[in-house]
């Protein structure tokens, strides 16, 4: 889960856990996320990616992660609808426009895995 909003990240983590998912890694910006992904032996099934983050944004981080693993499944979660087309064009598997319900997110995750 990659998002610079720590409280939001905490809530999502709790919700996902409640619904049977493990959050195996968290990052506050794209750069941290890419470094973390590269080192991971067991890659996550799904990556939840925010867009607007400091140091490296979601679009750039997505490109980098896909270079490492072209099969990585990335769900873009952003309040900025204008980057939807861009996200898909660079390889994002899904796009969720904030605010969205946990059920929608879970449904999306299940489709991807």
């Amino acid at each position: 889960m990659i998002d610079d909003d720590i409280p939001l990240r905490t809530v999502f983590e709790e919700l996902l856990k409640f619904n049977g998912f493990d959050v195996i890694a968290k990052a506050s910006n794209g750069k941290e996320a890419v470094a973390m992904f590269e080192k991971m032996e067991k890659k996550p099934d799904v990556i939840l990616m925010d867009h607007r983050m400091p140091i490296m944004d979601g679009i750039t981080a997505t490109k980098e992660i896909l270079k490492i693993d072209k099969n990585a499944k990335i769900i873009f979660a952003s309040a900025d609808l204008s980057i939807r087309e861009l996200a898909f064009s660079i390889g994002a598997s899904s796009f969720k426009n904030k605010p969205f319900t946990i059920q929608r997110l879970i449904s999306n995750i299940k489709k991807l895995i």
Binding site: D4, D5, P7, L8, V11, F12, E14, L15, F18, R52, P54, I55, A77, S78, A79, D80, L81, K98, P99, F100, T101, I102, Q103
Partner: protein, 636 residues
């Protein structure tokens, strides 16, 4: 002959001036009149009698002398010859010799010689001959000279490109240099000799001819520019100059030299027309045109004068210093650099812009195209200028407008971004927390916790909304700063924040190094302090949040500042992000410690106070230990 006659003849012979001698057939002297011989030749009887003295004859005259003697002896005629005889002292004497033979009383043939001294007349004759020869030589030389001169003048006249003519007193042609006349006017000698000059003139120029002739008669010379008819019928402009003179017979004639000016006049006319065209073009041009030479204007057109705001005459009367005064002082150095560069690029147009100050004091932008030229034989500059003031002003206005638009656009983007992202996240958080609360319906405690979380998020949204409002107010209004008691505002902000975060253990320690600090600020100072404190609280994972507030005084650039430090034990800020955290920015979104516009709002407010805000590590070099937010205020 009787004795009396003999004595008489003897007297005559002895005393006569002429040399009389009798010689025999051997040419020996038998008698001579000694007085005369002594007088003329220096010889006595003893020197000559009985001697053949043909040796006394000058070698050059010997032949003719001997001839005389021989001929004389052969016949009884008189023979005459002129010959030189040697005087006793060596020089020669010219004698006119007459001789004939006769038979003496003894029946012998003798010769009678009578000689007259013609030395003087001979000398005179020789001199005359010499003079004649000299004269003849000179005449010959002179004739040759004249002939050569005549030949030369003939060559000159015949080969001259100009028309040369001699006109007699009856105004008729006596002579023309035919080659030139044929070439220029098509006439031969036959066509012109004996004809009146006015026959060849254009009817409209006859008056001019009359005036010219009158002048020539009075002043001895005159000139005329008139049209002469070519044999083909067309006219050619001929400029003539004539001078009166008298010939060898005393007749008055005029020597006239004429030059075909047709092409020159045509060229002049073309030049005039070209000049007229140029003048029309330059004077009607909307571009300012000028010629600058030695820093003085030699020519300006109306447009240039209008640009400068002076009359043409004023500008043409400027001295060199006036040109410098015309140029804007800030552009003078630049202009001289450009002029210097122009010296190098001689044949191309140089283009540059600069400002001038018009007569009325108005600043005018001009686009100048200048080129080095030759004017009246000396280097000069051709300047072509266009007043671009309006264009520049419009450009500046456009730039200003673009800037304002950009600022407005960026602001709109900023607020849009703010609303979309930050409120989006808040709503997402509220939604997710509500979903969680629903999940915990069987666990009232946890559910309550989540509901409280939602309330806090709503408060957060409220604060964000408030900050956005403050931000937009700062953008609009001008700040009215006043002297504010820092301690008062700090104390109230600390109380407010503690109440807002009542569930957290927050300790705020005060370290005021100056008493009663006052700063230049306004009511937003509450927001400043609250934002800093909230930021310190929100980004702190410790059980006990400790914030130290330190107030001191510093000098920066000789200005006194009140320094307020908020030192926390929070999560700290990485070096890479220390500058970016205050730049929520209109283009980038790189907020770190929490969302919202809190820190960028802080910066905006501090800027409006002419203050500063920046962050350092609590422990230098170790950001994890916490942050130190430093605010500098102007002393109030």
């Amino acid at each position: 002959m009787d004795e009396k006659q003999k004595a008489l003849y003897s007297l005559i012979v002895d005393n006569g001036n002429d040399l009389i001698a009798i010689i025999n057939n051997k040419f020996q002297y038998e008698y001579l009149n000694e007085k005369a011989h002594l007088n003329k030749l220096g010889y006595t009887k003893e020197d000559l009698i009985g001697k053949n003295r043909t040796d006394l004859i000058h070698p050059n005259d010997f032949k003719v002398g001997l001839e005389l003697l021989e001929k004389g002896f052969k016949s009884d005629k008189y023979y005459q010859v002129e010959a030189r005889f040697k005087h006793k002292d060596g020089h020669y004497v010219w004698l006119e010799l007459r001789g004939r033979s006769f038979i003496d009383e003894n029946g012998d043939k003798k010769g009678l010689l009578i000689a007259r001294d013609i030395t003087k007349s001979k000398e005179f004759e020789l001199k005359l001959k010499e003079l004649n020869e000299e004269l003849e030589k000179r005449i010959e030389e002179r004739s040759k000279e004249l002939k050569d001169s005549e030949e030369m003048y003939r060559l000159i006249t015949e080969n001259s490109t100009d028309l040369i003519a001699i006109i007699n007193k009856r105004n008729r042609y006596d002579f023309i240099n035919e080659q030139s006349f044929q070439r220029i006017l098509g006439y031969s000698k036959k066509d012109m000799i004996g004809k009146r000059t006015d026959k060849f003139l254009h009817p409209d120029d006859l008056n001019k001819l009359v005036k010219s002739l009158i002048k020539a008669n009075f002043e001895g010379e005159g000139s005329l520019l008139a049209r002469y008819k070519h044999k083909n019928g067309h006219y050619r402009w001929i400029e003539t100059y004539g001078k009166m003179y008298k010939d060898s017979k005393g007749n008055s004639n005029a020597l006239v030299i004429g030059r075909d000016m047709t092409e020159k006049l045509k060229a002049e006319q073309k030049l005039i027309e070209s000049e007229e065209k140029f003048r029309t073009f330059t004077e009607q041009s909307i571009m300012g045109i000028g010629i600058l030479q030695d820093e003085i204007f030699k020519y300006v057109n109306e447009a240039a004068a209008n640009i400068i705001g002076c009359t043409k005459n004023e500008i043409l009367n400027w001295g060199p210093e006036e040109f410098n005064k015309m140029v804007h002082p800030e552009d003078l150095k630049f202009l001289y650099e450009e002029i210097k560069n122009e010296e190098i690029s001689k044949d191309t147009f140089n283009h540059y812009s600069f400002r001038i100050i018009s007569k009325s004091g108005k600043v005018i932008w001009v686009d100048n195209y200048s080129k080095n030229i030759k004017f009246e034989g000396k280097p000069a500059k051709l300047l072509t200028v266009i007043d671009t003031t309006e264009k520049i002003e419009n450009k500046l206005k456009l730039q200003e407008s673009e800037f304002k638009y950009r600022v407005a656009f960026d602001k709109a983007e900023f607020y849009k971004d703010l609303l979309a992202h930050d409120f989006g996240n808040i709503f997402q958080n509220i939604l997710a927390t509500a979903e969680l609360a629903l999940s915990y319906l069987n666990d009232p405690y946890k559910a309550k916790e989540k509901l409280i979380g939602i309330m806090k998020l709503v408060e957060k949204a409220g604060r964000l909304n408030s900050n956005i409002r403050i931000l937009s107010e700062i953008d609009k209004k001008k700040t009215n700063l006043k002297s504010i008691n820092v301690k008062e505002y700090l104390d109230s902000s600390i109380i407010f924040v503690k109440n807002s975060y009542s569930r957290k253990k927050i300790s705020v320690n005060e370290d005021y190094l100056i008493e009663n600090p006052h700063v230049q600020a306004d009511e937003l100072l509450h927001d400043v302090f609250e934002n800093v404190l909230i930021n310190a609280i929100q980004h702190n994972n410790n059980k006990k949040i400790i914030i130290e507030v330190r107030i001191s005084k510093i000098q920066k650039n000789r200005i006194g500042f009140i320094k307020i430090e908020f030192i926390d034990n929070g999560t700290g800020i990485h070096n890479d992000m220390k500058k970016d955290i205050f730049n929520r920015g209109f283009r980038e979104n790189k907020s770190v410690r929490g969302m919202g516009i809190g820190l960028s709002l802080l910066k905006k407010i501090m800027i409006s106070y002419d203050g500063e805000i920046y962050v350092e590590d609590k422990v230098p070099g170790d950001y994890i230990q916490g942050s130190n937010f430093i605010l500098l205020f102007k002393e109030g």
